[in-house]
């Protein structure tokens, strides 16, 4: 039934009904079919907040109430049915207005909108999933090949949001054909072999190494399959060279094909820059004779992954379809993708059994990513944190971006009014990537901000544990992220004199109400930012600090407690 609902909502979404109608329809459906809304409700608000810390950009008071009312399953189903909040239309409007007004245009326009969506979009699980997927299917404005393509990069983000709960194979196809991916990993205008050239191997390699199967064969629980005691590679260099031939012939969707074909033409509009790439294969031009010079796709036979062969003489669409089918059917995909998604939402060190349970759902649902995220979040290993004891490595370091958005959402941050170009400014005049070492579609390379197998030296590495996000925690970034938290708390609250207009203003009322009751103020922060998990040490430290801040204003006490919590090791992690 859930599947049916989702399919239904997808259809409605693609048709003409507005979002309000859609949500109402979903709700009616859910209740008509007799859910007991509270049968699997969180035991208390702290448990609800803990779940929402995993599943969203941070719990709000309203989301906690909603989750308590619906229960986990229905809350997830409701989220799976919510249509994607989109970036591209807004970014395009702002870019056009700024261009018309003689203002410069750049990634900032995309980022302002992205942070707004993270803070305020109702489809939180979808947006969060899109952010997680953007850290697997990486494109980045730090690469010069797409940095100036602001609007279509927003479109790529939208594509991830639309596909967030669709089958993996659908996502893989859309990623492969998106021109921003094409340009980022240079399949764009990649061509069949010439007299002294061979096809570009870039996309062929990374689609297998990073987006699907990885380098070595895996069991369903992600442990390596061994042959003679050693891991078995999933493919070799010959496979790469052969697979490179599949991804040839791509260009802009509107590159003119007649009467004067121009492989290097087109791509002058935002629509064309966001539309799936065209492929100049035999579907468009003959393989031999007149006009064959425009047939840019390699039609020779290809020996690809898993020892399979793609026959000669197919169209480009057939070749790409076959190749992606072969990749998506590889047994590595389920554990490889499941493990990374678990790392993004729940824990850096999932047990093999947890990975296998999720990977099994991945397989039996034919890669339905909605089913997969549900399995990740409802698994017992996600819902029940082990008892905290020395040497614990459960949970994860919170990603820097998520530390910021969670604070906004916990304390009801109010966005500034749109500026003269219709833009709502969120980032305090900075792209934030330099300070946070993380940002949406801003990775330094296709290997993301951190790798899944990063092991920080010391206790974690000695115990064989992973902590991807610690790769971007350094003596330098602890300071630069800290200063960012200061700018978004001490210098960004409602009621301050001369408030900035380039960032949301935090509502400190829930804290200042207890300006003379330090323990109560700390309790509010504990509940809202740490789902009640604040250590006794931190509670005592913050309470003592507030007592000693006896000469400070109520607002300074409040932002000091908020700022210090954001700097704390307690908040830097989630369990």
């Amino acid at each position: 039934m859930n599947k049916l609902l989702r399919a239904l909502s997808g259809c409605v979404c693609a048709c003409v009904l507005g979002a309000g109608t859609l949500q109402a329809a979903v709700h009616d459906r859910i209740f008509r079919y007799g859910f007991d809304p509270a049968s699997d409700a969180p035991a208390n608000a702290n448990e609800a907040a803990r779940f929402l810390t995993q599943a969203t950009f941070g719990p709000t008071q309203a989301d906690i109430a909603r989750l308590m009312a619906l229960g986990y399953d229905a809350w997830i189903e409701e989220q799976l049915g919510k249509p994607a909040t989109l970036s591209q239309p807004t970014v395009e409007q702002v870019v056009n207005a700024r261009t018309a007004g003689g203002q410069n245009v750049g990634s900032m326009q995309r980022l302002q909108r992205w942070y707004w969506q993270a803070a305020y979009a109702p489809d939180q699980l979808r947006q969060r999933m899109a952010f997680a997927l953007s850290q697997i299917f990486v494109i980045s404005d730090q690469g010069s090949s797409i940095s100036q393509y602001v609007v279509p990069m927003a479109g790529y983000q939208d594509m991830l949001a639309r596909d967030a709960f669709k089958p993996y194979r659908t996502l893989l196809g859309d990623v492969t054909l998106h021109p921003m991916m094409g340009r980022y990993l240079s399949s764009f205008r990649n061509q069949k072999a010439g007299a002294s050239t061979s096809p570009d191997e870039n996309y062929a390699r990374e689609v297998m190494q990073l987006f699907s199967v990885g380098l070595i064969k895996r069991n369903m629980d992600f442990t390596p399959v061994l042959g003679g005691g050693v891991p078995i590679p999933t493919y070799d260099q010959t496979t790469i060279t052969q697979t490179a031939k599949v991804f040839t012939g791509f260009t802009w969707n509107d590159a003119p094909t007649s009467p004067s074909p121009n492989f290097y033409g087109g791509g002058q509009t935002f629509a064309a820059q966001s539309a799936p790439m065209a492929c100049w294969g035999t579907e468009l031009f003959p393989a031999t004779g007149t006009g064959s010079n425009n047939m840019r796709h390699d039609i020779s036979a290809k020996s690809v992954l898993a020892g399979l062969t793609i026959p000669a003489g197919q169209t480009c669409a057939q070749d790409v379809g076959d190749e992606l089918d072969i990749i998506a059917a590889h047994p590595n995909v389920a554990p490889f993708i499941s493990r990374q998604l678990i790392q993004r939402f729940v824990t850096s060190n999932p047990s093999p059994a947890y990975i296998e349970r999720v990977a099994t759902v991945f397989d039996t649902s034919y890669g339905d990513l909605g089913d997969v995220i549900k399995a990740i979040l409802l698994d017992n290993e996600a819902r029940q944190a082990p008892v905290l004891t020395a040497g614990d490595s459960y949970g994860k370091l919170r990603e820097p971006v998520l530390r910021l958005t969670a604070m906004w959402r916990a304390f009801d941050a109010q966005p500034p009014a749109p500026d003269a170009y219709g833009e709502v400014k969120m980032t305090a005049g900075s792209s934030l990537i330099g300070a946070l070492a993380q940002g949406p579609l801003q990775s330094p390379s296709v290997f993301n901000f951190y790798v899944p197998d990063y092991q920080p030296p010391g206790a974690l590495a000695d115990a064989g544990r992973y902590a991807p996000e610690l790769e971007i925690v350094s003596e330098s970034t602890t300071y630069s992220t800290g200063n960012t938290w200061y700018n978004f708390t001490a210098r960004a609250y409602l009621g301050m004199s001369n408030p900035p207009v380039d960032r949301p203003l935090v509502n400190l009322a829930a804290l200042t109400a207890n300006a003379t009751a330090p323990a109560a103020m700390v309790a509010t922060i504990n509940q809202r930012l740490l789902y009640g998990s604040m250590s006794p040490m931190l509670q005592a430290t913050l309470t003592g600090m507030l007592i000693n801040l006896n000469g400070a204003s109520a607002a300074e006490k409040a932002w000091s407690a908020l700022y210090l919590t954001m700097l704390s090791p307690d908040y830097a992690t989630q369990r």
Binding site: G143, S186, K396, S445, S474, G482
Partner: protein
């Protein structure tokens, strides 16, 4: 926070780590701290620093150093799809022979060989480095890459002879950082060298390994983790005491005390504990370095808008400060410059093509050389700069760029470098500047070169110069070194 307390705690942790990870060598680095004369057996005098310049993405180094004689250049040009020409041959990746006024700027002679095969030219973007080469202070190591043992194409067929995951960025970078192809490790040869040499450093708070480019495996050892600094230097922490703590009672000092309390606490969660430890280290090092770094100026102007130059400017300041304050006898720096994964636009990408990247490298390294010079820090003889990159690239073109390769060219320069020549003989079956024909016996079909020199040999040569000379230490850091004919290539 008390620096001394922090140091004591780290010291005790270090001892514990050493005890579990085995062996007397692992214990030595900390011995100085308990005042024993034993450390004297390893005392290193004077000052030396290694600077690793990591060119990430896979530098197409066969276009850094090119045969200048007509016969070999013709082979090279054919393999690369001909000389690049925007209108006539946009897929060609070969550089033309320099002509006219470019000849004296680009051409160099290999003092190790004679005749036609001693004639080379460097990429036109590398004029500063070419001048350093001609002053005999820059050397090339030719056809270097990760190897398990010396091999030929025939040996490659046996898979146990192959390094794991050839052609993968992440894996090959790790192998370069480790200089060891047979055991995966979170540690690198820089950090493990730091373990050995750090006992000679007067200030044990400052790691011998300093990164201006974030986390990296190269600088991680058993008792050494890199101190990571930003190229913009040290910034104060808002709303806190800078340095910490501050005297008097103020809202700032109250907050500051609270922060230090939470950073000094112990955590059952190793994730929280590691975060607290790194943050606390950041506070200690801010205290140690901020004032001195602000007061340290350089006579040399570094180019603006060049991220590698910004990193190297910070390295130059830290070297100057470290020498003035006698912080360290041995240091290992790590800087990084990206964008080399030029599958597309290798020759034609405007401000991000290979020529543009190399021009930035040349300008940054040229300024660094100036800063090390007699008119500024005056430390040329004490500093050796070396390049690294996960792989070179296919000689054959993909129509717009090149794909992942294996062996490539690296350079090292400094006052101590025996430069003006190529080092291409690692004692194995493949040596010399490689035959660049796509059908040559030691290439794969797209011109991916089987290396003649292993990363182990290249790295061990540099580590020995730094002071890692005991055979047991070298064997521990570079366990495969004994597989190769030479453990010191002699370029420094």
């Amino acid at each position: 926070m008390s620096q001394i307390r922090q140091t004591r705690r780290d010291f005790l942790r270090g001892l514990a780590a050493a005890a579990c990870c085995g062996g007397v060598p692992a214990l030595f680095p900390q011995l100085r701290m308990i005042g024993t004369a034993l450390a004297g057996t390893r005392a290193l005098t004077g000052y030396k620093a290694l600077v690793c310049v990591y060119l990430s993405g896979g530098n197409d180094s066969w276009n850094m150093l090119v045969p200048y004689d007509a016969a070999r250049h013709a082979v090279y040009a054919t393999s690369r799809g001909g000389v690049y020409n925007a209108s006539g041959n946009p897929g060609g990746l070969a550089l033309p022979l320099p002509t006219g006024s470019q000849i004296p700027l680009q051409t160099i002679v290999d003092a190790a060989t004679t005749g036609d095969v001693s004639q080379y030219f460097m990429h036109r973007s590398l004029e500063r480095l070419a001048a350093i080469y001609r002053a005999n202070k820059l050397a090339f190591a030719v056809n270097v890459g990760p190897l398990v043992r010396p091999i030929t194409m025939a040996d490659y067929a046996t898979s146990s002879n192959r390094p794991p995951q050839l052609f993968s960025h992440s894996d090959q970078e790790n192998l370069w950082h480790q200089a060891n192809t047979t055991a995966g490790s979170v540690r690198g040869w820089g950090g493990r060298s730091g373990d050995i040499v750090r006992s000679s450093n007067a200030n044990q708070d400052l790691s011998p390994c300093i990164s201006i480019a974030g986390a990296n495996r190269f600088e991680i050892g058993f008792n050494t983790v890199p101190y990571q600094m930003s190229s913009s230097g040290l910034t104060a922490l808002s709303g806190m005491c800078n340095p910490t703590p501050c005297s008097g009672v103020s809202a700032t000092s109250v907050r500051d005390n609270a922060l230090n309390a939470m950073l000094e606490a112990s955590y059952e969660s190793d994730l929280a504990g590691e975060y607290a430890k790194v943050f606390g280290r950041g506070r200690d090092l801010y205290n140690l370095l901020k004032a001195g770094l602000d007061a340290t100026t350089l006579a040399t102007t570094f180019p603006s808008g060049n991220t590698l130059a910004a990193q190297l400017q910070t390295v130059a300041k830290l070297i100057k400060l470290s020498r003035q304050q006698n912080y360290a006898a041995r240091q290992i720096y790590y800087v990084r410059y990206g964008g080399f994964d030029l599958h597309a636009g290798l020759m034609s990408g405007g401000n991000s093509d290979h020529a543009a990247l190399l021009a930035n490298v040349d300008a940054a390294l040229g300024a660094f050389w100036d800063a090390l010079g007699p008119g500024d820090i005056n430390s040329r003889n004490e500093v050796t700069v070396f390049s690294a990159s996960e792989f070179a690239r296919t000689l054959q073109s993909n129509g717009s760029g090149s794909d992942h390769g294996w062996g490539g060219v690296q350079f090292a320069f400094g006052g101590a470098v025996n430069g003006g020549r190529l080092y291409s003989d690692g004692g194995g079956p493949i040596s010399g500047f490689p035959n660049q024909s796509l059908t040559a016996p030691n290439n794969f079909s797209r011109g991916q070169m089987i290396p003649g020199i292993s990363v182990d040999q290249y790295a061990a040569t540099l580590a020995q110069w730094l002071g890692v000379t005991a055979p047991a230490d070298l064997a521990a850091i570079f366990p495969n070194l004994a597989q190769f004919g030479s453990s010191n290539l002699g370029f420094v």
